[in-house]
């Protein structure tokens, strides 16, 4: 595992995502509710690209006809078959222990801190005045 600088924070507005390639893997970085999350960009079911997933609320219900929404935008609904995954840990809604998307730790750090290294950031000129999204993968 190495730490990779994958984007300037301003590149991924809240509610959007960015797909990056790290060591041959497509990883999608989401920005939602002020936080960044990184997941393998591949549904464990049949491989759909999760950057195309709908970002929806976590939906539960105490009884028929009552809809409780929480963590709006933090659940992914796969574009192919509708399976839901929790952005924070990659767990599926229907079988969280056994069916999950690989997730990766994400950090946001300032250019000033990053200047101290070491990072894998061949493609990224780092400026002290910006902040950056770091994925550990």
């Amino acid at each position: 595992m190495a730490r990779h600088i994958v984007a300037r924070t301003t590149e991924i507005p809240d509610g959007r995502n960015k797909v990056v390639e790290i060591d041959g893997r497509d990883i999608v970085v989401f920005h939602v509710n002020g936080a960044f999350f990184a997941l393998l960009n591949r549904c464990p079911h049949e491989g759909a690209p999760l950057d195309k997933a709908a970002c929806v609320a976590r939906l539960t219900s105490p009884e028929p006809g009552v809809y409780q929404r929480s963590r709006v935008g933090e659940l992914l609904r796969c574009p192919w078959h509708g399976w839901e995954f929790d952005m924070r840990n990659g767990q599926s809604w229907f079988d969280p222990k056994r069916v999950k998307v690989r997730s990766y730790p994400v950090a946001v750090e300032s250019g000033e801190e990053l200047a101290k290294g070491p990072y894998v950031a061949e493609t990224f000129p780092v400026h002290v005045e910006d902040s950056y999204v770091i994925v550990e993968a």
């Binding site: 219900s61 105490p62 009884e63 028929p64 006809g65 009552v66 078959h81 509708g82 399976w83 839901e84």
Partner: protein, 353 residues
């Protein structure tokens, strides 16, 4: 001590409305059935003369199969080896359009059942016949019977006026849960709709075959409408539904739920898990291939040994000979389906009368 073997599905027959039920009708309905000559109200699903409706050796010299208590006793108990049996009366009271007529006739059937069957043989139990045409009247009838522990379930037809999970029927489901009466969904149609969802089949065989689709629709409705979450004590028994279609249905229900459960967020578990907890099936007919490996596979795929209930479907002609138990069932399933499972499914059924 005789072996306990509870037959969960036998069919006593109402001879006629103007004959059998007359003493149990109030004065208004007595006058109506006599003056309007309302008598044979048999369901189109089970015309008494149709071979399926009565095995040749279970047909009385006169009258309908299942109409003679002595003959039913000899068949269900002596010949087929049951120690107890649950009577499910299939009659047109469940299908007529007039809800008040339905209510009067259902009440009469239940009174007749209590007086002329249950009181004459302590081995018999019965399902409550209800006028589902009007749910509040059905609840009234359930409440009226609830004090009599010989009534152990509520009988409804697989093909009625509306899917059974709809809120329209929740008062009935609530009463079922309250009185620990499983909802027994039996093959049969009130003929409000074509038996197949694509319309009317040309042949009797097709109608009987597509009954399984109605059972599937009912099961899905009860699950997706959230009936088992709303009424966690509710049990449903599929009667004469066939059994071997269940594995494919369970897989498909699970698969679909994974993708579309946001439509029904109150369904918090896989449908197959809900089915294993809340749904039971009678084992005539079973509809399995005639080899032990296939039978074992089907049982394993259903994934619960609690779901299976011994039943003969007497006097319906599902099998020949004296043994209602489908061939090749694993011994542990046979053990459980005869006593333990029925007692768990019908909690009001106490062996000592």
């Amino acid at each position: 001590m005789p072996v306990t073997r509870i037959d969960c599905d036998i069919h006593p027959a109402v001879g006629g409305t103007r004959t059998t039920l007359l003493p149990y009708l109030d004065d208004h309905w007595k006058e109506q059935v006599v003056s309007r000559a309302i008598d044979g109200l048999d369901l189109n699903s089970y015309p008494p003369t149709m071979p399926l409706s009565g095995r040749p050796d279970w047909r009385p010299d006169s009258g309908k199969p299942g109409s003679d208590l002595g003959m039913v006793q000899r068949g269900a108990f002596e010949q087929l080896g049951a120690s107890h049996a649950i009577c499910n009366v299939l009659y047109g009271a469940q299908a007529v359009y007039d809800p008040y007529m339905a209510s009067a006739f259902c009440k009469a059937i239940n009174d007749w059942m209590a007086a002329e069957w249950l009181s004459r043989d302590s081995r018999l139990r019965a399902s409550i016949v209800v006028p589902l045409q009007a749910p509040e009247l059905a609840v009234e009838e359930i409440e009226r019977r609830a004090g009599d522990p010989r009534f152990v379930s509520i009988l409804v037809l697989a093909q009625g006026e509306m899917l059974l999970g709809r809120r329209h029927y929740w008062p009935v489901l609530k009463a079922a849960e309250k009185h620990r009466l499983p909802l027994a969904i039996h093959a049969g149609s009130a003929y409000r709709f074509a038996p197949s969802s694509i319309g009317w089949p040309s042949h009797r065989y097709e109608y009987y075959f597509v009954e399984a689709q109605a059972f599937q629709a009912q099961l899905l409705s009860l699950i997706y409408e959230g009936a088992f979450g709303k009424f966690p004590g509710l049990k449903v028994v599929l009667m004469e539904s066939g059994v071997s279609w269940l594995p494919a249905f369970m897989w498909r229900a699970n698969k679909t739920w994974r993708g579309v459960r946001v439509e029904v967020p109150w369904v918090e578990r896989e449908p197959a898990a809900i089915i294993r907890d809340h749904v039971r099936v009678t084992m005539q007919p079973f509809d399995a291939p005639d080899d032990a490996t296939s039978v074992e596979d089907i049982i394993d795929q259903i994934g619960s040994d609690k779901m299976f209930l011994f039943a003969s479907d007497y006097p319906h002609w599902q099998f020949d000979g004296d043994d209602p138990i489908p061939p090749h069932l694993p011994a542990h399933i046979v053990d459980k389906m005869c006593a333990e499972n029925p007692l768990e499914t019908f909690p009001r059924l106490k062996l000592a009368a």
